[in-house]
Amino acid sequence: MLELLGNNLGAVLAMFGAALAVGLAGTGSAIGVGVAGQAAAGLVAEDPDKFGSALVLQLLPGTQGIYGLLVGFMILLNIGVLGGEISVSTETGFYYFLGALPTAIAGLTSAIAQGKTAVAGIGMIARRPEEQGKAITMAIMVETYAVFALLISMLIILLV
């Protein structure tokens, strides 16, 4: 175990980062999409015609999980897990680990918060279906911070 860490510390750190990005952002999205799905199911039970609008709102908190996947994938690609030999210096591996953090942290929290906003938005289109655009805009305001986190994660991974 120690030997593995000693010889491949860079790769271990990088993969740890990839695991955090995919795992934490995915957890956030699962929670967000889950709560929004419950609200959507309630709305569709009352009015099946609103399935489309409810589904869009339910999907919105799902993107953080995808951002996590992107970051994880880029790290794996750069350290050579996906074909070729795994080779990464300890320093670079540590940078990749740091690069994964913004998406992991902001992905987890923003997806949950966005899920709550989506629930409120679904409640809103239950009463005022014509205000769907506003409900989506409100949920998208939360997403901004996940996009920023993704951007910084990707800049670190692409530029180091």
């Binding site: 992107l70 996009v147 993704l150």
Partner: protein, 633 residues
């Protein structure tokens, strides 16, 4: 290309001509009828007619929903609603009579269905009630009070079983009990007590949660009761099948009923509109708003249907609240949907669609930025548009997607993305030169914000407030252009320095001009500089374009890599192909949604925030709105 002038129209006509005039206006679809509080010289009867029509419409809708589940004919996936003209719609009138028998019998069937279903529910409830006592093999009417004893059956919760036996033992002589059955959560007990002790028994068992069976309505044994009810259920289920078969025979009526539904709903729209009219004994008056340039068309049409009708037009008064009428050319018309989702522009403001459309087009394309996806999006959206010819919101959104597919194709070529494969880009690859891409996104953002400021400045100048334009908007344009130029170096930086200084000076000196006193003005000027943080976050917000672009490109790469790995061996080829197809479809779906909503957000918050004046009232003319047909003039 903008907000079109509205005009007030007044029509006075004879009551005899009312239907003809209304029908013409509805076919034209160019007049919004206003509510008026006339002092009615004559009683209006339309109220009752509206209620009557609403009832008829509800009946047709109800019967249609009743038959629909039995319609087994195959419907095409993308169906276009057939066209119908004015004469065709009038011809549907005969259906009122010919379909009335069908509607009546279908309503009767529905009642029979409801009755049969309620009977099944009732029988099921009885079975549920009796089921726990199935081990009691005497008849129910043997229970209750006899000459000297009282007997009953009931349920004792499992956990109280011991307290129950203790309690019954304490009841002493002349009492008897027997545990008949043990169920999941309770035991079934048969109890006999002396008549004198019934009250005592009931009081004591209450404390341990004993529930007596309610057998007053039953004579037979529990098994027989259940048998009887099950037979009942079967009888009613057969009856339901028969009713269903009878309903299914009405499937051929669907088309006529749909026609009738549209006939009624267009009639109802007219009747509702005529509730806003003023009436005398022989004449009526209506008032409303029209699109200014359709004045002649409306006048000619009305003169054609009625010789006596008097039509007058005038411009809106100063303080009158008139609707916002928006007209755009065919390229930017679909983008009206984006603004509609946000707010209706004020009638005295500006229509942002023509300014917003090019930015939306560019942003969407940059976010998707894959030539392959662009071709698919444009092709699919155009095909659906051509096939179903949708109207309203749906048509506009499909139009936006078709156009933005073209933009996606263009940016895909510029950035070298084809289904996630890196092809030699026309300009540069954002993954290899991320700083360049970030700069491009923020640069476009600064440009859009400046355009927004210029629009606001233009509106201020038009309203005779040139100083507001200079101090509130142009000053910021100087700052926004000057500060980034500092990064360029050389002459540009020197020039930028002075621009930024001029901008900041304008803000410091004049932004607080509305405040009272010299101190107030100074504080107002200083605090306006703080607005720079707002602009900074606005500009940074445009980096989402890069973020969304990354998402599309890298997800496509993920699926290509997985698919490629599977295709390494011949067994994996079908799975690899499946992954590629499903993966790319998923990616297009999720990123179209993402690009759509994020492009919207950039317009709503960053762009419209600078100049948009909302809370207008959308123009809603009286027109032919139908569910099953498209109206053709």
């Amino acid at each position: 290309m903008a907000i079109i002038d509205a005009k007030r129209v007044t029509v006075i006509g004879l009551k005899n001509d009312k239907d003809k005039i209304l029908k013409s206006l509805q076919s034209l679809g160019a007049v919004e009828i206003s509510e008026n509080n006339y002092e009615q010289a004559d009683k209006i009867e339309t109220n009752d007619e509206v209620i009557e029509l609403e009832k008829k419409l509800a009946d047709v809708d109800f019967t249609l929903n009743l038959i629909k589940p039995f319609d087994e004919s195959k419907k095409p996936f993308l169906a276009v609603r057939p066209l119908v003209g004015r004469d065709g719609l009038d011809a549907f009138e005969v259906l009122q009579r010919s379909e009335s028998a069908a509607i009546d019998s279908l309503k009767e069937y529905a009642e029979e269905l409801a009755w049969a279903k309620s009977n099944i529910t009732r029988a099921n409830n009885i079975i549920m009630q009796v089921l726990p006592f199935k081990s009691f093999d005497e008849t129910f009417d043997a229970l209750g009070e006899n000459i000297k004893t009282f007997s009953t059956v009931g349920l004792v919760p499992l956990e109280s079983r011991e307290s129950f036996t203790e309690l019954m033992d304490e009841m002493g002589d002349f009492s008897y009990y027997e545990i008949l059955d043990v169920l999941k959560e309770s035991v079934v007990a048969f109890v006999v007590v002396h008549l004198d002790k019934v009250a005592e028994f009931r009081n004591r068992v209450k404390t341990i949660g004993f529930t007596e069976a309610k057998y007053e309505h039953f004579q037979e044994s529990p098994t027989d009761v259940m048998k009887k009810e099950k037979a009942d259920i079967e009888k009613f289920e057969n009856q339901i099948d028969e009713i269903h078969a009878s309903i299914a025979e009405y499937v051929p009526h669907i088309k006529d009923l749909q026609s009738l539904e549209d006939y009624y709903s267009s009639l109802l729209q007219r009747e509702k509109a005529s509730m806003a009219f003023g009436y005398t004994k022989n004449a009526f008056v209506l008032e409303g708003w029209i699109v200014a340039h359709k004045e002649k068309e409306i006048k000619e049409e009305l003169e054609k249907v009625s010789e006596t009708a008097l039509v007058e037009f005038r411009a809106p008064l100063e303080d009158e609240d008139y609707p916002t009428i928006i007209e755009n050319n065919s390229i930017s018309r679909p983008f009206e949907a984006i603004t509609e989702m946000y707010d209706t522009p004020s009638a005295k403001g500006i229509d942002p669609n023509a300014f917003m459309a090019p930015f939306y087009f560019i942003f969407f394309g940059m976010m998707m930025s894959d030539a392959g996806y662009g071709i698919l999006l444009a092709a699919i959206a155009s095909f659906v548009l051509w096939k179903t010819k949708p109207t309203g919101m749906m048509g506009k959104i499909l139009g936006v997607i078709a156009l933005c597919g073209v933009s996606t194709l263009g940016w895909g070529i510029v950035f070298g993305g084809w289904f996630g494969l890196s092809v030699e880009p026309l300009w540069f690859n954002p993954l290899q030169e991320p700083m360049m891409m970030l700069g491009l996104c923020l640069g476009i953002g600064v440009f859009q914000i400046i355009v927004g400021l210029f629009i606001a400045a233009g509106m201020n100048i038009k309203r005779g407030k040139p100083w507001s334009a200079l101090f509130d908007q142009i000053s910021w344009v100087f700052v926004l252009l000057g500060l980034p130029s500092l990064l360029m170096g050389g002459v540009i930086a020197e020039f930028g320095k002075y621009m930024a200084i001029v901008g900041v000076a304008l803000l410091l000196l004049f932004a607080g001009r509305a405040k009272k006193g010299i101190v107030g003005k100074a504080i107002g000027g200083l605090s306006s500089i703080y607005g720079i943080t707002g602009y900074l976050s606005d500009i940074l917000s445009y980096s989402r374009i890069f973020g969304m672009g990354l998402a599309t490109g890298v997800i496509a790469m993920v699926f290509n890599t997985i698919g490629g790995m599977l295709m390494g061996s011949w067994i994996g080829i079908p799975f690899g192909v499946a992954i590629l197809v499903i993966g790319h479809v998923f990616n297009i779906g999720i990123n179209t949604l993402g690009a759509y909503v994020h492009s919207c957000r950039l317009q709503y918050i960053e762009f419209y925030g600078k100049f948009f004046e909302g809370s207008g009232r959308a123009f809603r003319p009286l027109k032919m709105e139908m569910k099953h047909y498209r109206f053709e003039k």
